[in-house]
Symmetry: C2
Subunit: 213 residues, 2 copies
């Protein structure tokens, strides 16, 4: 069964929607919703019910025809698919305002992402703590990453340091990078990288506003 799942080819578009499903289902659960139809789930996310049924069918049968999806079951299943049923150890590199904000972002821990270390080159920041997590000098990256089994590195340094920080993270044994800089970082094929562009949210707004204003 597990083997089988690994061979399912899932489009990137579907993968990108799964966290939205997961989040919306969690919010629905908090509101006390136990069963949700693809119509209602679609309405909350802004996706057609057909799209939802198609996306979720790729992973097996989670719904009951004419009834809907069992919310807690679907949360557990999507969580498993997204790898959220285990703990991921993460590190932030770069303690500017964005790094600081991310270190304080409560949603991460609730989804199994444990901030294990923060790195910076500034001697005034090294040795301090953000929410009980220590800021280390970047030179200690190989040691700390290995010791704390950190798999994901978040890069929030100025753009000109993005590549060198990424190289250092990769050399230290990191498996995935979340890049907040506008720079395209070169990484080996085996490494996963997600490039964050905060403008995307604004573009989605401007798309709708330019049609309605």
């Amino acid at each position: 069964m597990k083997e089988n799942k690994q061979h399912v080819v899932i489009s990137k578009a579907t993968i990108d929607r799964l966290p939205l499903y997961y989040r919306t289902l969690k919010l629905s659960q908090e509101e006390g919703v136990a069963i949700i139809s693809s119509e209602e789930l679609g309405r909350r996310i802004g996706v057609t019910p057909e799209q939802i049924r198609k996306d979720l069918s790729a992973f097996g049968e989670f719904g009951k025809k004419g009834v809907g999806y069992y919310v807690s079951e679907l949360i557990r299943n999507i969580g498993e698919i997204l790898g959220l049923n285990r703990q991921w150890n993460i590190a932030i590199v770069g303690v500017g305002h964005l790094g600081w904000a991310l270190a304080n972002y409560a949603n991460f821990a609730s989804q199994g992402f444990q901030l294990q270390a923060i790195f910076d080159v500034d001697a005034n920041k090294v040795g301090k703590y953000i929410n009980d997590v220590e800021i280390f000098d970047c030179d200690r990256m190989p040691e700390i990453v290995a010791e704390r089994d950190i798999q994901i590195g978040i890069i929030t340094v100025p753009a000109e340091y993005a590549q060198s920080v990424a190289n250092k993270l990769i050399k230290s044994g990191i498996k995935g990078i979340w890049n907040f800089t506008p720079v395209k970082i070169d990484v080996p094929e085996r490494l996963h990288i997600v490039n964050e562009d905060l403008s995307v949210g604004l573009s989605s707004l401007s798309f709708h506003l330019s049609r309605s204003l």
Copy 2:
């Protein structure tokens, strides 16, 4: 022609991908790429060429069979579709680390989003400037929003103030809201809201890592 465009029904999934196309095309242009195939564009974004051709066909004919897309033409066209060919006036409410980081986010201005005002309730912050943009007391919202023709409000306040800040923004005449708090904000039907969840990027990484580790 313009009328016609307004009647095209575009799926939310497509709209969500357009900013990624836009961003990737801009990066390609900076690298000196003048023509790009759907295969190459797909490889850079992580979407199938079929998906790209399908997405872009909804808006008309941008490519040339066997040649590819003209990058600058496609940038102009997608920019127009996304409403990025005009200036949008934005305001940030809440000067924590995240608000501060967003106020410094260089990508916004380059895509036509002009930060016109920042709001906070903290008397120690009011009257100060971030990158030449003044921090105003939240009480002055109606006046400043009208005066500076601000269309989009970005909410980066603590979760418990999210709804009241949104109400105040809407009353002041804002048309769209970008919500960084984890709270579901109730807004009138006519208003556009985008809920940002920074965990989505991490979930995408954990999905891939849990399959490859």
